[in-house]
Symmetry: C2
Subunit: 213 residues, 2 copies
């Protein structure tokens, strides 16, 4: 049974403790009061010991996980396991918006460089400027080494992503770097007739030498 709309008003709830829990659960993104109440009632059907395990896991994660001092990936130490790895190419830095983008690239298993998590993209509409992102630490990373660094922009192909890439390019271009960007083109498995104009145009402009697979 789905909850009817009038249950949005939780002043009818039989306990302040349930109300407090619903209030807290509803602070999570994408979870409204209705879903929060459903989750709270489902927790009440569980053994309290199980609920303690859940609550303790959330606390332990929140207390124990912090951003890597170097690349702002999440880690339990000061430096994350990727930055600490001796087997990776320290002269290649892949710039991503978000930890989930890092996870997506990492799960491919074939990228052997390091990362730099910006924590967002420049978006004047949302009031996010360059100083709100980890851009200065990227410039310091690149400046601190005497070797030439390749910086790969792996940002979304949106206006905000492109703006951020351009801003970073202007900052990094004067340093000892090669700046590259993810290829834009027709997606693997996609029919040409369904590709949008901008993508198709970019895919012709940036055509590559044919390699038999």
């Amino acid at each position: 049974m789905s909850l009817p709309d009038y249950l949005y008003t939780v002043d009818q709830l039989p306990s302040r403790l349930i109300e407090a829990a619903v209030d807290q659960i509803a602070t999570l993104p994408g979870i409204g009061r209705r879903t929060a109440l459903r989750l709270a009632l489902s927790l009440l059907r569980k053994d309290p010991e199980r609920v303690h395990q859940l609550a303790d896991a959330l606390k332990a994660m929140s207390d124990g996980v912090k951003p890597c001092d170097v690349c702002h990936n999440l880690t339990e130490d000061n430096i994350c396991s990727i930055c600490n790895s001796t087997g990776r190419d320290a002269n290649t830095i892949c710039v991503v918006e978000d930890i989930r983008d890092l996870l997506a690239i990492e799960s491919l298993g074939n990228y052997r460089g390091l990362y730099h998590v910006l924590g967002g993209v420049i978006s004047p509409m949302d009031g996010i400027g360059p100083s709100d992102l980890f851009i200065q630490t990227l410039i310091e990373r690149v400046s601190s080494t005497t070797e030439k660094t390749e910086v790969i922009f792996a940002l979304s192909a949106t206006m905000e992503g492109e703006t951020t890439s351009f801003y970073l390019f202007k900052k990094l271009n004067t340093l000892n770097t090669t700046v590259t960007s993810l290829a834009r083109g027709v997606a693997v498995g996609e029919s040409l007739q369904y590709a949008d104009e901008a993508t198709l145009s970019r895919s012709i402009e940036n055509r590559t030498a044919y390699k038999a697979q």
Copy 2:
């Protein structure tokens, strides 16, 4: 950005603490690993103090809320505020499947009797028999008073709900009770042409004296 499918495999997560939290969040109904990871990452963007508040609210609810000894509504005491209320009609008991049904009726604000939460309906397909529900305690409640009790069946108009109503009727019929059921009929605001056959048939069969509103 929505999470791609390959993030279902969480062995790539940068921290065991995140994995443990994702595992715990994913035990909630309707929340898969993908949503659990999204929620975990959103918690990591919060101040740890806020996460502790959330976790403590869940613990406090789970520890402090229990079923009412009489009607199995949720309460922080032994007897819930509805059963304890002196202003309500103790000789009318509304039988509901679930606490959310109780909340729905209670939010109307015009029912002044008590409740009895069964904790489900008889459903042989799901292995739920009469002994899995709070049926015996309902019979004891009705038997313990010398006054005539009205028992209102407010169960879903499904096969399981009807089966449960019939089972309860056979048990209660021999006691000092009047047994009633929620009216089945055309919903308020519904066009007759969209009402299903069974509903329309019941609404003719159980037609009521016309009252000018």
